[in-house]
């Protein structure tokens, strides 16, 4: 079963082409252009991995990440940004992001990270179910 991926980036061309590339590798991908839209979508539909940009108008990726973790702490978030700083990366990792990738990034690297993030999510969900039983 392939992971359901939500791709959030305000750069339309980047988002749509990356979406096509990920789909070509067999992933189920939805792409959205803002953090607000992403949060609305996550409240309606279940996803496994979110690929999130940091610098976006209205609501930046760090704020979106915080909200995502409130909606479902088990959702795995991969940050994919062109604007890296050590301080931002540290903050993002402490907020619970799975990975921090800097653009431009080979799609193969992103696919690896999505796959391992998905594995982690399924393992954590299974563990939670066991604890619930």
């Amino acid at each position: 079963m392939s992971p359901k991926v939500l791709l959030v980036d305000d750069e339309e061309r980047f988002r749509t082409t990356l979406s096509k590339l990920l789909k070509a590798h067999g992933l189920e991908v939805t792409d959205l252009g803002s953090g607000r839209e992403a949060l609305e979508e996550l409240r309606k539909k279940a996803y496994d991995v979110i690929v999130l940009d940091v610098r976006m108008p209205e609501m930046d990726g760090i704020a979106v990440l915080g909200e995502i973790k409130k909606i479902n702490p088990l959702l795995e978030v991969i940050i994919l940004t062109g604007h890296a700083s050590m301080d931002a990366a540290t903050k993002i990792m402490w907020l619970g992001a799975y990975e921090f990738l800097l653009k431009p990034c080979p799609v193969e690297d992103l696919l690896d990270k999505i796959e391992s993030a998905y594995e982690r999510k399924t393992t954590r969900e299974a563990k939670k179910r066991e604890e619930g039983d």
């Binding site: 750069e11 061309r13 980047f14 082409t17 990356l18 096509k20 590339l21 070509a24 062109g82 604007h83 890296a84 050590m86 301080d87 990366a89 540290t90 990792m93 402490w94 799975y98 990975e99 921090f100 800097l102 653009k103 431009p104 990034c105 080979p106 799609v107 690896d112 391992s116």
Partner: protein
Amino acid sequence: MSANHERCQKAAEKEMTAQPPNAPRILYPYAPVILLLLAAAPLGFGCGVFWALGALLLAAVSLMTVRRLASETGKGAGQEWLLDEGLLQAQKLAAIGQLSAGVAHEINNPLAIIRQESQWMQTLLKTDHFQGFEEAGELRDSLGVIIQQVDRCKAITHNLLDFARKRQPVIQALAVNRLVEDMARLVDKEAQQKKIQIIKHLAPDLPPIYSDAPQLRQVFLNILNNATYAIQKSGQVTITTRPAGQDFLEIIISDSGPGIAPEDLPRIFDPFFTTKPPGQGTGLGLSICHGIIEKLGGRITVASQAGQGAAFTISLPIKPQDRKL
């Protein structure tokens, strides 16, 4: 006092009281006085000499106050002007750093699009539709070159970001264990994938040190990345923190990798020295780390035997080092 000295002093005094180019100027300093006189004139004619004299006195006091104010403002601004000259150079350097970081960040996004579009075209070229297409191979080659060149630009933007980070340290109290844990967390995912275990022996009662957190993070991350790169697959990275006498503490990052060849050890902190294959390392990482630690008043050393891993020891002062900063 020699005539020359006197001339110099007068010139300096003149400079101190001169209006600097960006000092706030009082436009038409006598305007309020003239207005007051104009207002007082009809009063003088209508209500007698007493009122006219009173108005003139008020005008004189106003004139003195305005002149004094103008002089004080000029002096203050002049002194600020001289101080600003000293700060200007530092501001210029900071601006260049910010500009290069800004440029690097802004370029990363279009580069990402170019790379991605090329990869998409490569994907399309693999479909059945293009199988009989004679020039498909040539197109694939061209796209490969575009991707290679994008990666080359990426290395340039990352170097620009490194330049932007070469700044004066900002010293604050910080907990070394927390910094080490932050950076270990950043490399932990990749380490897990390579079956590398990160072991931490962090002394629980270390005092806070006065140092620059972002620069230390950069150093720890660089050495941790080198350690996981050296191991490649299956192994251990051990991070130890401990006090070293009363004034220093040590951070030791060791790995179970193949170690450093004896002939490479003396050159390991040299700029552009790398043991990585071409295209995989710039040879600047450890050189930058060395520079940062020296600037923070500390010391970085390496010990290694071929086949038995490497251990980097970073020694940092607990108190700020005035000499270096």
